[in-house]
Each structure stands twice: as C-alpha cells, then as structure tokens.
C-alpha cells in the first residue's frame, strides 16, 4: 500500500503544483524576498495546497460557498487585511441569527443566576449556541478565532458553580471585547472577570489565608509559562498582591448582579517582591502594576507567541516563527493584530503542514462547507451538545485552567463521532438549522461543473480540501458513491458524506 508521498512522487510534485492558481500577490512577494515558489509546498506528506484554500482554513472555520468566491475575488492579501480589521466587516447575518440568545448573552451573570438557578441548561445552551453560531456564520472569522483562542488561554470551567452564569459576562467583556486589542488589555479584563476570580478561587484570596490558585495559574498559564522563570516564592507574593481582587456579593445588589469588586478588608498590605521587582504597598493598584510587569515580560511574549503559532501554524511550531512573533509582541506592546500579521506574513505560515482540526472545529467546518443556515440557535446547540461533549470538546467544558489542548495527539480518538456527524450533516439531521443545498448547487453551476456523480465529487473534493483528489482517493470515493444508489439519487450525498468523513477533511 503506497502512502501519499510516494503517490505524489510518481505524479511529480510539479504536476500537482501546476493544478493551482497561485495568487500573484503572494507569489510576487515570495519572489521578491528570494524565496522560491517551491517553498509554498507544505513540507508535510501531502499534496500541495492552493494558498487561497490555505488562508481560508487557517484564518477561518472553513470554506463556505460564499467565502470560496469572495477570497478568489479579492485575493489572499486583501482577505488577510480585511480579517485583521473586523470592525470594518458588516455582519448582519450572524447578528440576526443569534438574536434570540441576546436576552441571556447581554445580561449580567449574577442576574442570570437568580433567574436561571434551576435551569442552568438554558444558559449553557445560550453560551454554546452563541459561540457555535458565530463561528459558523460570522464574516469576522479571524475575530471569532481570536475569541476562541483567548477563551482557551484564559479558560474557565462552566460546570463549577456560578462560573456558568459569569462566563456570559466573561465571553462578552473579556474575550469578545478585548480579543483583538492588546494582551495587557485582555489580561486586565480577565483579572477583573468574576468568572475567573471565582473559578480559580481568587475571590476568597485574603490576607490571613491567601489562596494561591489564581496566582499560580496567572504565572504558569496566562503569562510567563511554566518555565518562564518564576519561583514558588513568586507565586506566594503574587497571591498576596491579588488579595482583595474579588466580586460583589449577591446580597449587595437587589437584582443579584455580580461584578468585580476590590475588597479592602481582604487585602494584604505591605510591599511585595515579584520576579525581583518590588511592588510597593498600594492597595488595588499593586495588581495593575503586577499585570503591567507580567504583560511586558519576555517570557510572556514567548509563551503567547508559542500558543499563537501552535494555533495558526503547527502543533510544534518552528522556533523561528515563535521568535518573530514574540519579537513583534514585545516591540508592539503586546498588539495582537501586529503579532498576527507577523505570523501571516511568514514563510512558516505559508509552508505550514495541515493542522488537525479539534472536534468542534471539525463540526463547524462541516456545517460551513454545507452552508447551513441557523433557524433556531438554541435548538441547534441542544442537538450538538452531546456529540461535542462525547468528543470532549464542548465549549467551556475543559475542567483545567490550561484550556483545550491544541495538538493532534489529543484529538485522534473520537473518530466514530466525527464520522457520524459527517453523515448526519449531509442528510440534514441537524435540529434548528438547514443545509444550504441551494448555494452548493449555485456554486457548482457557477463553476461549470457537470452534474454527474464523478464530476460533482471531484469538484467537492477540491472545494473541501483545497487540492485535487488523488487518483486513489477519487477511485475510493466514486466507487462508494456508485454503490450507494442510482445516479444522482443518493450517490452524491453518499460520496459527500465520505469526503467529509475522510482524513483530508480532518485537517485544515
């Protein structure tokens, strides 16, 4: 049995490359920088991929019929710049789709807790629905990716008590509000987030008995990283600094509203020393000084750059891209857009091997590829909850503060659920949502694809994978389709479900 590399070698790699239209802007830049066109071939065991497909799958949650046309029209560079300025992108379709959820999503978590104390499920579905629907439908795809990224970086676990309700505020006021600003801003927002302060017990961190939980994760996970150069003594000092960073009690506000509150009485006064720097006694402001210190620390730059590179480039990102991104991060004062731009302009990004999709990413990419419209976001979320949970990737349900792992080895199990989701999606079995067969047919028509089983499936392969199917893949898919019903009737659906379940679509 030959593997993909051997097969491509028999074709000749050059032949595979000639099949694609390379955006002249990208190629032009590459030639200007002395990089050969061959450098655009992923160094992985796979066929070369169209740069347009590559930018779609890295910056977004996957190709849709509309996105396929849009990126072809404006080109890779313009698309990247468009996505880096989400506020300039009109997004009414996604906004109206989540409108039924807004009464919950716009509310304060403490107020929600009063109203929904015995109905946590409704709040959970609103959060999950709001997340998934926007990943599916928003035109601000890179922005949604960053909301997702920061949600994992500053991860909280919604099964822990009130955190569920307060995650509504956290999602709105931390990740969505600050997701593409600067690291210091989002770090500050997280440190003031009642969801985080309750999740990691800092709300109870007080001078007579400091609670180190948040202090430790702030250093280990949010900023410096586990080998970033802090000591156990630093953890304890940080805990002292953050004594008093707490939340208002339910009894303080008539409607049950919960907000950040600095509790003077909890605070451990006196000077502290963190990472060799003295933080003089100054009440709440000590914490701001601490966050300033952590946000500009070189280890933080490296830690965040590594995670961004892991998300956008590869499971084990090359040191060179981490260096470049960390440098931009430091030089720009933690500017997220600038850091992303460095990554997207890099050779490492364009040469990146395919990245395995996490389960939820895979499901969203399925629904996008089939141009699903959302009629009832809550109902849709309810239908997706169990399969996503079975695969261990239901949003906000990672119990530990380190967030969902972002490497292939963590997600290779659960294939059976992915395969069943592919089948279910093709056969229109998603509640509260409708498959966009109109737009798929329109795309096929616009592209001049002959409407027979093989032609349609070959085009769908290119549309989904960003490259032509290999001869072997084509034979397997067409044979399966033809055994699954009469021509046109059921063959295409069967072939499509196989394409979506196939290994190539597990990667982006």
């Amino acid at each position: 049995m030959i593997n993909r590399r051997q097969f491509l070698e028999t074709l000749g790699i050059g032949a595979a490359a000639a099949a694609f239209t390379v955006d002249p802007g990208v190629l032009g830049r590459a030639l200007a920088s002395g990089v050969s066109a061959g450098a655009f071939m992923p160094q992985h065991d796979t066929a070369a991929r169209d740069p347009l497909a590559h930018v779609i799958s890295r910056l977004t949650y996957g190709v849709t019929p509309a996105l396929y046309s849009h990126v072809r029209e404006i080109g890779v560079q313009a698309f990247i710049e468009e996505q880096l300025a989400p506020e300039t992108i009109e997004d009414s379709a996604a906004e109206s789709a989540i409108e039924p959820l807004l009464p919950i999503l716009n509310e304060n978590g403490g107020v929600l807790r009063v109203g929904f104390e015995n109905d946590r499920g409704t709040v959970a579905l609103a959060l999950i629905g709001g997340t998934i629907v926007r990943q599916m439908l928003s035109k601000r795809q890179l922005y949604e990716r960053m909301v997702h990224f920061w949600g994992d970086h500053f991860s909280v676990y919604v099964a822990k008590g009130q955190v569920l309700f307060l995650k509504v505020d956290d999602d709105r006021d931390v990740t969505r509000s600050k997701g593409m600003t600067t690291f210091r801003q989002i770090l500050g927002a997280s440190a003031h987030s009642p969801a985080m302060l309750l999740y990691l017990d800092n709300a109870q961190n007080e001078r007579s008995h400091p609670n180190e939980n948040y202090a430790r994760e702030l250093l280990e996970l949010h900023t410096l990283g586990v080998h970033g150069g802090y000591t156990e003594a630093d953890v304890q000092e940080v805990a002292r600094v953050l004594t008093g960073w707490s939340v208002s009690g339910r009894q303080q506000n008539a409607d049950g509203r919960i907000v950040y509150e600095f509790r003077e009485m909890f605070h451990d006064n006196g000077d502290k020393v963190v990472l060799g720097t003295t933080i003089p006694s100054n009440g709440e402001q000590e914490g701001e000084q601490l966050l300033d210190l952590l946000a500009r620390h070189p280890s933080t730059a490296r830690h965040v750059a590594t995670k961004l590179a892991r998300r956008f480039v590869a499971d084990t990102p090359p040191e060179s891209i981490i260096d470049a991104a960390a440098a931009t991060f430091l030089d720009s004062g933690g500017d997220i857009r600038a850091t992303l731009r460095t990554i997207f302009n890099s050779q490492e990004f364009w040469n990146a091997p395919p990245k395995y999709k996490q389960p939820t990413e895979y499901v969203v990419s399925l629904l996008r590829a089939l141009d699903y419209r959302v009629d009832d976001p809550r109902r849709m979320a309810a239908g997706l909850r169990d399969p996503l949970d079975t695969m261990g990737n239901l949003p906000f349900t990672w119990a530990a503060p380190n967030g969902f792992p972002d490497v292939q080895s963590a997600w290779q199990d659960g294939l059976i659920t992915r395969w069943n989701m592919a089948i279910g999606a093709v056969y229109g079995q998603l509640r509260g949502a409708e498959l966009g067969s109109d737009s798929l047919i329109a795309l096929l028509t616009a592209e001049g694809v002959d409407m027979d089983t093989e032609s349609v499936l070959l085009f769908m392969g290119r549309y989904l994978f960003g490259r032509d199917l290999t001869t072997t893949e084509r034979d397997i898919v067409v044979e399966f389709a033809q055994a699954s019903g009469t021509e046109g009737e059921g063959q295409i659906g069967a072939g499509l479900s196989l394409l979506l379940a196939s290994p190539a679509f597990q990667y982006r």
Binding site: D45, Q408, I416, T470, G493
Partner: protein, 427 residues
C-alpha cells in the same frame, strides 16, 4: 457527460428504501444476536496472561490524608481544626474514622470498602506518589501517567508501554479502553487504545449495509494517512465490530451487585461486562474528577465526602460483581498529588505532594495500610508543609506489573528507575 438537473431534494437524499436512521434507531436495528458462549462467561484465560488492569485516576489532587486518615497522629488534628476526620473513638454519634490498623483508618463515607479491606483484598499505600516537585495539576498528572517524572521525552504512558512490551499474542482492538471522551495519557503508546463512553452507542449511523460499506471505504482512505491517524481509524473499525458482539444491554451484574448512578460506576459496570465477554480487554482507565478542593472541602460530609462515597460504592459494586473472578483483576487508584497537611483559610486544602494509593486485588498480602511513615511534624514534611513521598508510586506499580500482569520489562516501562519491593502483592 450529460448534465442532469439535480433537484434540491435529490441532491443529497439517500436513494431508495435506505432510510437514514438516527443513531438511536440504528442502535436498535443493530442489536446483536444473543451469543451465549461469548457473553458473560466466567473468565477464561486466552491471550490475556495476567490480571486485567483497571487504573482509576482521581483528577485534581485528592486529599488522601482525609481518605486514609492517620488518626493516630496528633499533628494531623492540630493542622486541621475544621477538616480533620474525628478519631475512631471520638465521642458523639457523628461519623468518624473507621479504624483499619490502629493508626490509619478510612473516611466514614468509604464504609462499603471496609469488608474488602478486612478480607485482605484491598490495601492502601501511604506517603507515596510521583517524586517530581511540581505542584501543577497538568504537569503532575502528565508525569504520573507517563511514568517518567520530570521528563517529557517519551510520548507514551506507563500502561501503553506495558502493553507494548508484554509478550503475549493479544491482538484484540479492545485491549485497552479509556473510559470517557478521550484516551488517558497513561494508555498512549504503540498500541491503539479506544476512548469509549458507552458500549451500545459505538457504531456508524445508517442501515447496517450502508454503514458496513462506508466503514470499508473509510478504512481505505485512512490507510493513505500517517501512522497514528490510520491506527486510530483501524482500531475504531475493529472495535465497532467487536463491541457489537458483546450484547451489553443484556448484562446482569452477578452476586447481587448494585452499581450506584453516575458515569464512574457505569464505567466499572461496563468494564465488568467486557471482562466477562472475553474480548481481550487487558487494561481499562477510568477517571473520577472533582478532587481539587481548595475551598469548602467538607470533612465527614460535604464535597469530598460525596466523592469518596461515589468512589467506594462503585468499587464495592464492582468487587461484588466480579466475585471470585477478582483473582484475575487488579485495580489501582491514584491521584496526581496529595494535599497540604495544614488546612487553608477557605476550609479547604491546597496542592501538596505525597498521598495514598489504593489497590484492590485478589492477590494481596493483606496488610491494610503500607507506609514508611515519618509522622507529620514540620521537620519531616516536604517544604515544611506537605506529606513527603517515602515510597515511589512506581514501586507499587512495578510490583503489580511483575507479580500480577506478567511483565518484567520494567526498565522499558519506567526508564531510569530502580524499583524496590513494597510487600503489597503476594508473590
């Protein structure tokens, strides 16, 4: 090529009478024929040479000082005015420690394990753990499951390496099962473990013929892939076929065993069924989370007491169910670290170091608690605050591997480690 007009409906609908089913309906349609010879026979020894291993991980750093209570230790009561479990002879009718050996005892919620201890089929090892100094959950769990404290060099876990090095002919795709949504690190390695939530739900949607065809075609496509993803796909395919043959919906626990509610107990129940179905299961991993009790831990009741009840009642049911077949099973329970001796200001405990492991097996020497116990005075504590580790957890596992699981390749399972005896298992 003729251009057909594809109607919206025909574009994607399956043709003919092959109505698409929901997963549930497909499950009912795919119910296997009763196979009395396969299902639930007493254990036969085919290619599983040693005991079946069940490894239970308490996620979060369980406060094992309140699980296996050193009631003979004054320092314990001084350090935990709110949280300490009362001595066995404490006055009043409130729950108190159940004595095991005059010094250590059981948290009262674990009462259903007492008869098992008394029968010599359960023991605890105290002041044990992974010697790496980290107090980080993820690092500690990771190192403990990898079996290489302090070292990320090997991508595999200790059970994965055990299964890869044991010389038996077991080619079953369900040799190793990780109960839950993702395979535990301990199981990772050259073999392909399966993440399983429910035996009956493990199959492709669609009518049987369509599902079988699709499975074949998927297998061909995944064969073009890199090794690890292909291995995952093949394991999935074989497991589907085997698990369909188990007939779990007809499983009746034996000896009057009654499993409590909840995923943990259900994992044990399904493990019992798979052991009896003789499908080649060699190792199963089960997780029980919620042990990171920084705040409001409770003592004789509360959060941790409820978790201990869940743990104990599940284990007791499994023990009853297995009956005399416990002689072919070894269960080990561990957690990434224990918790600080002194309680904190939130009526909880912070991350510590040493703690206790539990082992349940039909082949123990019968000492209820084994410990090289140095006391709890400040001068013997790790960093002056945490229970030290006087028995490396790998010593416990090594004894089990060599004496019960038939694997002597300890240098490959625990590289750079020189094991010492513990006196837990009978030779």
């Amino acid at each position: 090529m003729m251009a057909n007009t594809i109607s919206r409906r025909a574009f994607l609908r399956a043709g003919g009478s092959a109505a698409v089913m929901t997963q549930m309906a497909a499950a009912q349609a795919a119910l296997p024929r009763w196979m009395p010879r396969l299902a639930f026979a007493p254990l036969t020894q085919t290619s599983v040479r040693g005991d079946v291993l069940v490894s239970i991980f308490l996620r979060g750093g369980a406060d094992t000082l309140n699980m296996i209570v050193p009631h003979g230790e004054d320092a314990y009561y001084r350090a935990r005015p709110q949280l300490a479990i009362p001595r066995p002879d404490a006055a009043g009718s409130d729950p108190k420690t159940i004595d095991l050996d005059g010094f250590f005892g059981l948290h009262p919620s674990m009462e259903r394990l007492l008869p098992i201890f008394q029968a010599g089929e359960m023991s605890a090892v105290h002041a044990t753990g992974s010697p790496n100094e980290t107090r980080s959950h993820f690092e500690a769990m990771d190192f403990m499951e990898r079996g290489t404290p302090g070292d990320y060099g090997l991508n595999s876990g200790w059970i994965g390496r055990h299964l890869a090095t044991i010389q038996n002919a077991n080619g079953s795709p369900v040799r190793a099962i990780g109960w839950g949504t993702a395979v535990q690190q301990a199981l990772r390695g050259a073999i392909s473990p399966i993440a399983l939530q429910s035996i009956v739900d493990y199959h492709l949607a669609g009518d049987t013929a369509a599902a079988a065809r699709m499975l074949e075609s998927l297998s061909s496509l995944y064969a073009l892939e890199g090794e690890s993803l292909y291995a995952s796909a093949e394991a999935t395919r074989s497991a589907i076929n085997i698990l369909a043959g188990v007939g779990y919906q007809n499983y009746r626990p034996q000896n009057g065993a009654e499993y409590p509610e909840g995923e943990f107990a259900m994992a044990l129940r399904q493990t019992a069924a798979l052991i009896r179905a003789d499908v080649g299961l060699e190792a199963a991993c089960i997780d029980l989370g919620g042990w990171d009790t920084h705040v409001a831990q409770g003592s004789v009741d509360g959060i941790m007491a409820r978790l201990l009840r869940q743990l104990s009642d599940g284990l007791a049911a499994f023990h009853t169910d297995m009956g005399s077949d416990m002689r072919r099973v070894s269960v080990v329970i561990m957690s990434e670290f224990g918790r600080r001796v002194e309680e904190n200001g939130g009526r909880g405990t912070d991350h510590g170091h040493g703690g206790a492991m539990l082992v349940m097996s039909g082949n123990l020497t019968g000492t209820p608690v084994i410990a090289d116990w140095r006391g709890l005075e400040r001068d013997v504590l790790d960093r002056g605050e945490d229970l030290p580790i006087t028995t490396d957890y790998r010593d416990v596992l090594t004894e089990m591997l060599t004496l019960r699981l038939g694997n002597d390749n300890i240098n490959e399972i625990f590289p750079d480690f020189s094991p010492s005896g513990v006196g837990l298992f009978r030779a």
